[in-house]
Symmetry: C2
Subunit: 790 residues, 2 copies
């Protein structure tokens, strides 16, 4: 990405060398390991120096009161914030009683490398203590993709001097102090030392800590066990907030001591403490039985299978190749074993956004999961289904029918403290419905459709019918909502929302027809289905006939235009420098909104409408959100502005790796990472869902000379290999698959790749302009400048 | 009022007898005494039972952090809340060592009476202690209208049994515990015991406590002195938070002991402590010199002068007569000696609204003050002028020119924690400008106009020019603001706001032309004045041509109508039972907005437009605010629906005396009380300002058979006496005054009353309807029902 990028380029991993006090937290985020259930930030083994310690168990959170200067009806009263579970990744080291700390002594070399193929984080450090005693430390860390609650560390110390006394303190640490919890006293109080010790267990080298969160009442058990290789004394002890196995050895020059540490994690709202402990013990026993090499082998086998169908190969740019695989690997890590829990905006890579899940999950991450690891997509939707009761309660509170899913949450309860960009962003309901439709369409999972999808579609459809209203003109309107663009709020007939609601209503009716008995059990009758269809057909899509362009929402194009020329670079993001009311009343777009509608509801727009709308909204879109560039990349590519699309792809790929927004310390932007995959497949691949199956309109742009990606489709893999001249499609199993390449329908048979030429690109006209200073080129250049200042 | 009304009817005062534990706080509010600078709630002398102790000094407040669940640019960080100053009204009584407490022993009789003519609160209690010892206590309390910082109590105990040992503990109590401070921890912490003791002074029977607020750094000195009549021992002592004079006497049957207590109050941001104390001492010395009878005499003389020109006489309804005088008396009390301080929404009668001042002050209270005690109106506007610097800073923060006055404040800093009904309610700036124009027009005070008014008009005009924008059609728009109706927010071209801004701009240009040198010093040039005029002329006033009715704001009449039929009585106020977004997007009006524009900007509407608009908005207005009924009364009367006007007048007069909204415990609704006067004069009197002077269109309604009121106009008094047949106008001094009676222009000469007949009332057609259950009749009936449930 940018010249300030400190990461080493490699096709199947990402590495960094040395140590940079300014970039501790950023590396902790980038090198995070997770399987969607357990997450460890890439902190150094020895625990220090550390900026943001991070050990998470999906769903484990603490509650806190939500403060308001002025109260209002329906304001959520209880907030939720992700907390650190007891941290089992700490292995402190003493060399001749001197703490191993890369800030003291002499750091000869340090390398960290996150391996996408092996699914491990490797580290090697050569260091001499302040008193002149040398060691080499090698560690490999993994969070198992095959054993959901298990993490493990292979840790080795080698003496480079003679007669070295080495002490390893392998720990589980609870209630670690955090850098900055929350500015509000009440919240801070609730989140300080959130884990109350319940019980400790120790037996040989095995130790378990059992805690309970103070308010949310979640029990958490974290246990560890060790296998020590080499001559050493081993001793294990526990206290309320720490379990510690001490390994002491005297090493000769070239001698080593190696320990394998297994860490098991369990949490529950309601289980007996003994049950939790038993589960931890069972996981540890199984891990010992399997052994480190067994775990590593399983991990690689899992990833071999994943990459075999999901890899995106990019020719012509090693940087983009790395970024694409990093993105997909982190998306996989965020979701692989979440199973019944949501995907937070930051995955399990940091405490950003309080660990909440947003619409990002369904609108950005689930499409990628659906096509690469569909079970994970299904599991997220099952979680939404599991919290339908809370969404129904919320709808009732708002005097609406059906279900109103929360804008941000961990447990399923609404935790948004700013309703104009929370409660009224009702499109999240349609985003969930769209994810259901996409998942079922791509997998053919009719069991899910019947048992979970139907009810999600029905309850969200019910919401729209009561949220919207019939106009005197016979059209259906949805007033007073907020769409994706957070610089507009409380608008009428937001196109993205209305098109999404339209599809939600249509899908509910269609799926109810497919499962009439189950629909009847949900109280769906013919009248209700007819009402959904009527509302869908009559949905208002505002269009400015004078300017011949769709309106992001009713009247949008008649609003005053933001004074982009008069806005300095330092005044972005605008929300930090201007009051909401001024943003809301003017034409200025934070993030793709109408353009996202162009992407996902492409069939609602003609090619000419798409091109005009894209050009119009490009001039207004400032991209103060990481969720914007991917959609802009997709639509830019589809309308033929492939170089611009490449710029947006580069920006999306840069958000985390070059810390474009100076906020990676708190965790990765999982949705933006998902957007990298989408920009490639749906943008440069031109992939889109149509009534007649998937359509592709592949076109590359410099520096890409070739691209290949795979898509899971009803149990088989579709591989798409794109060159500048042609695209080759192949499926690995039956039955035959109908796709469309540009305007040609093709039927693919297993084992018979089909190569189709790329038609010439019609001149898309001049590239659209962005607001002053906000082109992706300028943003990247500005970010470079920032980084150089460090 | 309503049948649940527990107050005794009298023409020049209001009384209550007995004691009702349910109504303690309400009586404390109704019997509050104030001069606008010092305020004492009507608590019982002995301090208990008490619900909301209240001793206020205008402007004395404490700061506290303002909490937000999610932060935003420009959100105020520091809140302000009125606090109790050391309370000097407490005189505890022991009868044979038994505390005098009306909850114990036998209460034979208790009367309280607030005397509007004397300006005192009288109380008499006959009581026998649990041990059978009887006393009669008589107290008279006043807060001096002639000595700004002085309050005094004449307290007398008479023995109705022989050999009674009586002990009086006359106190100043600081940091009294409050019933419920604030739900938020940070705020609560900041407001608990807000006064830090600095110093105490005692000398003979004189004692002074000096405190300082912890965060806002305001020094407060309260001192007392006593004159004791009767044989007694007297002893005075002080501690940090209490000063106490103990008076002991042994009384024979029929003997009495009487003390007069003087209490002086001073506060300052910056003065030396010694200066504060000296001022207190000087005030106490002057008070002793003057004596109780002297004080009482001055008080009555002050009020005699006030009532002589300002009284509203109502024939035909003793209840309405009392309500009208109560209202005017409380308005006077809220403002008479505020001098450089704002008028809080509750005056100094309680802690409601945190003691903040709002637009109520300029839009509702100042018109009454302008016509009855114009110096007080001037002083409030001088306060606005004094805090112009803060308003300029706020405008700069919002990227606007000129001044943006705070929606709610004590110090002049914005304290609104909900921007959609705070920051963007920019009309407050035009409300202040309108108050300037009205004051100068009624008084001819050109010194004020030049030295204060001009700058207020210029800086508010500058705001509008940058807040608004020029449309492609050449018209001037003001987008994204909130008008008076808090059930609509972030609207474009709110008629009330735009008409008010228009007058603001016109007045700024006109006054700048009258004072060219001073205008030049404010940087006002010909170009800027021309711009103001252009914007005023081009101001957009949305009108629905299909429905032939003005739109409260652009598009308002096309919004979905609130489901009034489906809304239960228990669901009012709507804001407590429905989310804002649903209220905002529908046609439902909390309080007069377009109707307030009909009232104050009457010349912008034809008679037909006024009648149609009134009827249209009547169907939508639910009056969930006490600020609504007065404007509805005025416009109802003007369009000829005089019985409906009477209902609204009755409602306005009932808000406090029958506790219509169940919130009088926290203080009186000063603006609604001002609205009683306005409903009478501008409604039944038909008084309105026109370019050709005041116009009157007087019409009475049952039960009124006659009405007389006085208006201060450029130093003279205009008396208007209305009967059903005719109206008599008279001025008491020269020069001649031109007025208009209906459509006739009349010139009044001093000493020559003019009697003009009332033309017949044209049929106004059927009375407009209100939303289900929200007619003033229904509301009053519902309030009656509520009270009966107690």
């Amino acid at each position: 990405m940018t010249s300030g990028d400190p990461f080493d380029i490699a096709p199947w991993g990402i590495g960094a060398t040395g140590w940079d006090p300014e970039r501790i937290a950023r590396r902790e985020s980038v090198f995070a390991l997770s399987n969607g259930h357990v997450g460890w930030r890439g902190s150094l083994d020895e625990g220090d120096p550390c900026k943001v310690p991070g050990a998470y168990l999906n769903g484990v959170h603490e509650q806190h009161p939500m403060p308001y200067a002025e109260d209002g009806y329906g304001y959520p009263e209880t907030g939720e914030t992700v907390i650190n579970v007891p941290d089992g990744k700490v292995i402190r080291l003493l060399v001749d009683d001197e703490p191993f700390d890369i800030r003291s002594g002499t750091l000869h070399e340090q390398t960290q490398f996150l391996d996408f193929a092996a699914g491990v984080l490797r580290r090697e450090v050569r260091w001499t203590s302040p008193t002149g005693r040398g060691v080499t430390v090698r560690s490999t860390r993994l969070i198992s993709l095959t054993h959901r609650s298990l993490a493990a560390i292979d840790y080795e110390v080698e003496a480079t001097d003679a007669h070295l006394d080495v002490t390893l303190l392998s720990e589980i640490v609870a209630n670690e102090p955090l850098p900055e919890v929350h500015p509000d006293e009440r919240v801070k109080k609730a989140l300080e030392r959130p884990l109350v010790p319940v019980e400790t267990f120790v037996s040989g080298e095995r130790a378990t800590l059992l805690h309970r969160t103070r308010r949310s009442g979640i029990s958490v058990a974290v246990g560890m066990d060790h296998v020590v290789e080499g001559r050493a004394t081993v001793d294990t002890e526990v206290a309320d907030d720490v379990a510690r196995t001490t390994v002491r050895a005297r090493l000769g020059r070239g001698d080593g001591i190696r320990i394998v540490k297994y860490v098991a994690h369990e949490s529950a709202d309601a289980l007996e403490d003994a049950t939790l402990r038993d589960r931890v013990e069972a996981t540890l026993a199984a891990a010992r039985e399997l052994g480190w090499e067994g775990l590593v082998h399983e991990q690689r086998a899992y990833l071999d299978r994943f990459w075999a169908h999901a890899d995106v190969r990019l020719d012509g740019s090693p940087r983009l190749q790395q970024a694409a695989r990093f993105a997909l690997f982190q998306v996989l890590q965020s979701a692989a074993r979440a199973e019944g829990r949501p995907i937070p905006g930051k995955g399990l890579t940091g405490p950003g956004y309080e660990g909440h899940t947003f619409w990002d999950s369904e609108a950005f991450v689930l499409p990628v999961l659906t096509y690469t690891i569909p079970d994970a997509a299904r599991d997220v939707l099952r979680w939404r289904h599991a919290v339908l009761g809370l969404a129904r309660e919320r709808a009732t509170q708002l005097h609406l029918a059906g279900a109103a899913f929360p804008w941000r949450t961990i447990s399923g309860r609404e935790c948004s403290g700013y309703w104009p960009a929370g409660t009224v962003a009702f499109h999240i309901n349609a985003d969930i419905a769209a994810a259901v439709v996409l998942y079922v369409g791509a997998t053919g999972d009719t069991d899910f459709e019947r048992d979970h999808g139907l009810e999600l579609l029905v309850e969200t459809a019910r919401l729209w019918v009561t949220l919207g209203r019939w106009g005197a003109d016979g059209s259906f309107h949805i007033d007073g909502v907020t769409g994706p663009d957070e610089y507009s709020a409380l608008v009428d007939d937001n196109v993205f929302t209305n098109l999404s609601a339209q599809r939600n209503l249509e899908a509910a009716a269609a799926v109810a027809r497919r499962h009439p008995d189950h629909a009847r059990r949900l109280g769906v009758g013919a009248d209700e289905m007819a009402e959904w269809t009527r509302a869908a057909v009559a949905m208002t899509i505002p269009y400015d006939h004078e300017r011949q362009v769709h309106q992001q929402s009713a009247g949008f194009t008649e609003r005053e235009r933001w004074d982009f020329e008069g806005t300095d670079a330092a005044q972005y993001p605008l929300q930090d420098h201007f009051p909401y009311f001024d943003l809301y009343r003017k034409q200025v777009v934070k993030q793709a909104d109408l353009v996202l509608a162009l992407q996902v509801a492409h069939e609602a727009f003609t090619a000419e409408q798409t091109a005009r709308a894209f050009a119009y909204y490009e001039e207004l879109t400032v991209r103060d959100s990481s969720l914007s560039a991917p959609a802009q990349a997709v639509v830019a590519a589809r309308v033929g502005h492939v170089d611009l699309a490449m710029d947006y792809l580069t920006e999306a790929a840069t958000v985390d790796l070059a810390d474009l927004r100076d906020d990676v310390d708190d965790g990765l932007h999982i949705a933006a990472l998902a957007g990298v995959w989408t920009a490639l497949t749906a943008g440069f691949g031109g992939m889109r869902e149509t009534d007649a199956g998937l359509q592709f309109t592949p076109r590359l742009a410099h520096p890409l000379t070739g691209m290949a990606f795979g898509i899971c489709l009803e149990g088989r893999t579709l591989r798409v290999e794109v060159t500048e001249e042609a695209t080759t499609y192949a499926i690995d199993a039956g039955p035959a698959l109908r796709i469309r390449h540009f305007d040609d329908d093709v039927t693919l048979e297993p084992g018979t790749p089909v190569r189709l030429e790329t038609p010439p690109l019609a001149d898309p006209g001049p590239a659209p302009r962005q607001p002053k200073g906000r082109s992706p080129h300028e943003l990247l250049a500005a970010a470079d400048g920032d980084h150089e200042e460090h």
